[in-house]
């Protein structure tokens, strides 16, 4: 503090003895010095002092100094030192951060001052362009604070700054040039700036990519030592992630520019890794690289791009490297989990990659396929939850659009295969009926994925037989599932099995037939569906049971006595009631877990209890719900005594009915359209109004801030005497008014008296005339004229 004071003294001259100038006064004097001094040295000194005060007296410096600082930026741009001070000062006053020095002297203003000053500064877009132009200045004292100021502005008003930079000529290129800056501190700060700048703005992302960002970033990454590098590597990866996330054009560019190949060195694990271990930074870097790979092949990207990226990744041996990490020892669990997810997405829906993955062997003794080792973890209660989820996802990706893979898995369960080693099928069957409900859920879902869009495997799986107890007859897998469904008390397990059965029985009358023959199965479904109350999440269970009943109707070939199509729909109508049935069925898609699961193929859950429904099942449900409703509806009409002959007539009637319905809906649609366009127009108007109000508001804000600052300056003493004076004057006014009134009255009285006197005078005059005296005429005329005037 003493240092500051002495510094200030030299700038301002010693203060008058006995009076200590307030911060505001000092700032005021400094600001006027900056704006009026003719000598550059003086202005520079004053700017240096302002910079020193700009934290503690941020409000004062900002309110009074912003215009002056801006001026300096324009006029003194040849002097790097003063520009540096100015930029630093602006950086401080626009900072979002609340400074320590500031809070101790803090005023009772609660608003975010930094944000408001930012708003004031960027209101004129040219100011931002001006700051951008300082990036071209090589001098460290200018370039670095310019980067920092832009970062600070961006933190408060990201969208506005993005818009300004986007339209300012060469704005992005100037920033990109900073990535080849030899002074690392500038380069690293520029990196952070670019990360913030590219957030959720596809246009900037594309320009940054066009300006050779990937080349530059890979250069930096290489210089820093790939994944062994420091946080700068992580920052580079984060920027790349920003550029690629949901940006198809950039992903395409990344692929076409052969950058995928450049990722390969990132996955090479050093031989001595087990000794040196994984540093936290290495873990973070690795996470970012894995994220990057996943962004390129994310299931939400267009299929064409995903497929070609997957192909390139295999050809660049990236898939191989990933599988090596999968099988390496000493890999931290979260990296392993993410690697499993990544491998999943790299092979998802790509037959060649899936085949490669199927051939990967784990270095165990005896050697086992990697898939088997992974599935062992999935059905192992002791493994971390997220890891088990990842394995399931990876397995699903392996089976996605992979008929051969599906067949291979089912094959391992068939009686013909007399393999003594542990197989995928055995693991899944073991998990299916395990006491751990999560294992059961995982295994059901995994098994159900061998059946997706694959009618042949649905029939093959019916051939699977299980030996339950020694000596007793082996039972079919489906039979055992139906029995287990009735026996287990765990909700998660039941839901898993039901999803498996639903996948199995859809479009497969043979499976329906087997299920209907299981004693008690139908009764169980009926009881669940007709239950009128439910506990937590049991509505899903009941909905699934309803769904399964519906499948038994829709895919029924009438081969089981007492359970024909007609019988079953009557059962539903009489025991459950059509309306209740539809409500139960609808319960599934209304539930939040449905919405969550249907969002993306990957299983995203924080806790094991959240796992109930699954992506592919949701798709199945969505496709078949209307089929079931239709099947039930038609059945009902038939049972109402519609003969086959009248069917065409009936169809005709239906057709007419539908036509009417469509016409109705068409009309409604038009109405809705009309009201929509009305509302849109209204919305437009309102938006305009809001915009206007916002502008007024922001103006008022600014004024407010300024006024507050000014108030601080001038203190509160000025207003009071003014008030008193007004009051005093008012009182005087009342007094004077009263006096005036009184005087008027007096005057009236006097006038009356005067008139009296006048008449008397006239009478006397007349009498004098009568008596023969001479009276001067002029006098009398004057008198009368005077009285005329006055009356």
């Amino acid at each position: 503090m003493e240092y500051f004071r002495s510094g200030l003294k030299s700038v301002l001259g010693a203060p008058a003895p006995g009076t200590q100038p307030t911060g505001a006064e000092t700032v005021e004097r400094l600001v006027s010095r900056v704006s009026t001094s003719t000598l550059l040295e003086d202005r520079r000194d004053a700017c240096r002092a302002l910079k020193a005060l700009s934290r503690k007296y941020r409000l004062e410096v900002g309110a009074q100094g912003m215009d002056v600082l801006r001026q300096v930026l324009e006029l003194d741009r040849s002097d790097c030192e003063i520009i540096g001070y100015c930029l630093d000062t602006l950086c401080n006053i626009t900072s979002k951060e609340v400074f320590e020095e500031e809070s101790e002297s803090n005023l009772n203003i609660k608003v975010n001052v930094g944000e408001q000053f930012t708003e004031m500064f960027i209101k004129n877009a040219e100011n931002v362009t001006l700051v951008l132009s300082f990036l071209e200045e090589y001098d460290f004292r200018v370039r670095w604070p310019a980067v920092k100021l832009l970062t600070s502005l961006l933190a408060s008003k990201p969208k506005e700054i993005q818009d300004v930079i986007l339209v300012s000529p060469m704005g992005v290129s100037k920033l990109m040039d900073l990535l080849v800056e030899s002074r690392e501190v500038i380069r690293n700060d520029a990196l952070l700036l670019l990360i913030n700048l590219t957030k959720s703005n596809a246009n900037i992302q594309k320009i940054v990519a066009f300006e050779n960002a990937f080349d530059r970033l890979f250069d930096v990454i290489r210089e820093e030592g790939f994944t062994d590098g420091g946080i700068v590597v992580e920052d580079c990866m984060l920027l790349m992630l920003n550029l690629l996330k949901n940006n198809t054009s950039n992903i395409n560019f990344f692929k076409e520019g052969s950058y995928i190949q450049k990722l390969a060195p990132m996955f090479i694990l050093p031989d001595n890794l087990e000794e040196v271990g994984w540093s936290p930074q290495k873990v973070s870097n690795m996470h970012c690289v894995l994220q990057l790979v996943r962004t390129l092949v994310s299931p939400t990207n267009p299929v064409q791009i995903v497929t070609s990226c997957q192909k390139t990744m295999r050809n660049a041996n990236l898939l191989e490297a990933l599988c090596n990490i999968l099988m390496a020892s000493g890999v931290p669990a979260d990296i392993l989990t993410e690697t499993i997810n990544t491998v999943g997405e790299v092979i998802r829906g790509n037959l060649t990659n899936q085949e490669y993955f199927a051939g990967v062997m784990a270095p165990s003794n005896p050697p086992r396929p990697a898939i088997v080792v992974l599935l062992m973890s999935m059905v192992n209660e002791k493994q971390p939850f997220t890891l088990r989820c990842a394995v399931l996802y990876c397995f699903q990706c392996f089976l996605f659009k992979n008929e051969i893979g599906q067949e291979q898995v089912v094959q391992t369960l068939l009686p013909s295969s007399t393999n003594s080693t542990l197989t995928t099928g055995q693991l899944l069957c073991g998990g299916l009926f395990s006491a751990d409900s999560l294992s059961c859920w995982f295994s059901s879902v995994a098994l159900s994925h061998t059946l997706i869009e694959n009618p042949a495997q649905r029939e093959q799986l019916l051939r699977v037989l299980l030996a339950t107890n020694l000596g007793s007859q082996p039972v079919s897998l489906l039979h055992q599932c139906a029995v287990f469904l009735q026996q287990t008390t765990k909700l998660q397990a039941k839901i898993g099995i039901l999803m498996l059965l639903a996948m199995w029985m859809s479009h497969c009358p043979q499976a329906v037939q087997v299920f209907l023959n299981v004693p008690g199965a139908m009764a169980f479904l009926t009881a669940q569906t007709s239950a009128s109350e439910f506990d937590n999440n049991e509505e899903i269970l009941q909905g699934l049971c309803a769904f399964l009943m519906g499948l038994c109707v829709a895919f029924n070939d009438n081969s089981v006595q007492n359970y024909s199509k007609e019988n079953l729909s009557q059962l539903i109508e009489k025991r459950v009631g059509t309306e209740t049935y539809c409500t139960k069925l609808g319960e599934i898609s209304r539930h939040e877990v449905y919405a969550k699961a249907a969002k993306q193929p990957q299983i995203r859950a924080k806790h094991s209890s959240e796992l109930l429904l699954e992506f592919e099942f949701c798709k199945l449900f969505k496709a078949l719900e209307p089929v079931i409703i239709k099947a039930l509806g038609v059945q009902r009409d038939l049972s109402n005594g519609m003969s086959e002959l009248s069917l065409s007539e009936h169809e005709n009637a239906l057709l007419l009915q539908y036509k009417e319905l469509i016409r109705d809906q068409d009309k409604k649609l038009q109405d809705v359209h009309k009201s929509l366009s009305n509302l849109q127009r209204e919305n437009q108007d309102l938006k305009g109004q809001i915009e206007e109000l916002r502008q007024t508001n922001s103006q008022l804000h600014d004024q407010n801030t300024l006024l507050k600052a000014q108030m601080q300056l001038s203190g509160t003493a000025v207003a009071e005497p003014g008030n008193d004076k007004v009051k005093q004057l008012e009182a005087e006014l009342v007094e004077k008014d009263a006096e005036l009134e009184r005087l008027r009255k007096d005057q009236d009285d006097l006038l009356e008296l005067l008139t009296d006197q006048d008449t008397k005078l006239n009478a006397f005059k007349n009498r004098l005339k009568e008596l023969g005296e001479t009276v001067e005429d002029g006098d009398s005329e004057d008198n009368s004229a005077g009285s005329d005037n006055e009356v």
Binding site: A202, N203, K206, F210, S249, E256, G257, S258
Partner: protein, 213 residues
């Protein structure tokens, strides 16, 4: 997938003249009669062969609408070639060429090769701009000219390839500084700039090598 050179292109011109369709025809060899408005820019790429050398074309297809003009300008500087497209069935797209050309010349590097393209040559019956007019405009402004049809693919390959040839020749003549990536040209990974056998690098690289940093 390695290449000797990489050229960056941009496609510019009024909205609806068929810029995106030209790119699609060139990269995917297909035509999409109904195409969404381009938002900002879209990327496409293809490999071609010139003089026995593999050349990778990276093409940025820009939005023609006025609203995106300031965004698309950002792409001018870094491009080695530009396809300036108008629609032969809409006179006004031809009339706007001067504005486009001024804009491009102002924001790009001076060596950028510009190819003038009159698109939709399949719609002869609705033609509003004569081929001679296009030729005259090109001659006057020193551009290469061609009429194309993104629908029938007529001249589409030629348009992209001829532009590349022109750039390639300029490299051979040493007009382009191939060490400066801002010109929209990159040398392929197997051709390092110090490689003495590289054609053209001997003359151009020697005198301009110092400008890279």
């Amino acid at each position: 997938m390695s290449y000797a050179y990489l050229f960056k292109y941009i496609i510019i011109g009024d909205t609806g003249v068929g810029k995106s369709c030209l790119l699609l025809q060139f990269t995917d060899k297909r035509f999409q009669p109904v195409h969404d408005l381009t938002i900002g820019v879209e990327f496409g790429a293809r490999m071609i062969t010139i003089d026995g050398k593999q050349i990778k074309l990276q093409i940025w297809d820009t939005a023609g609408q006025e609203a995106f003009r300031s965004i698309t300008r950002s792409y001018y500087r870094g491009a080695a070639g530009a396809l300036l497209v108008y629609d032969i069935t809409r006179r006004e797209t031809f009339n706007h060429l001067t504005t486009w050309l001024d804009d491009a010349r102002q924001h790009s590097n001076s060596n950028m090769v510009i190819m003038l393209i009159g698109n939709k040559s399949d719609l002869e019956s609705r033609r509003e701009v004569k081929k001679e007019e296009g030729e005259a405009f090109a001659r006057e402004h020193g551009l290469v000219f061609m009429e194309t049809s993104a629908k029938t693919a007529a001249n589409v390959e030629e348009a992209f390839i001829n532009t590349a040839k022109e750039i390639y020749e300029k490299i051979q003549e040493g007009v382009f500084d191939i060490n400066n990536e801002a010109n929209g040209i990159k040398i392929g990974p197997q051709h390092s700039p110090t490689n003495p056998s590289l054609p053209g690098a001997g003359g151009a690289g020697g005198s301009q090598g110092s400008s890279c940093c």
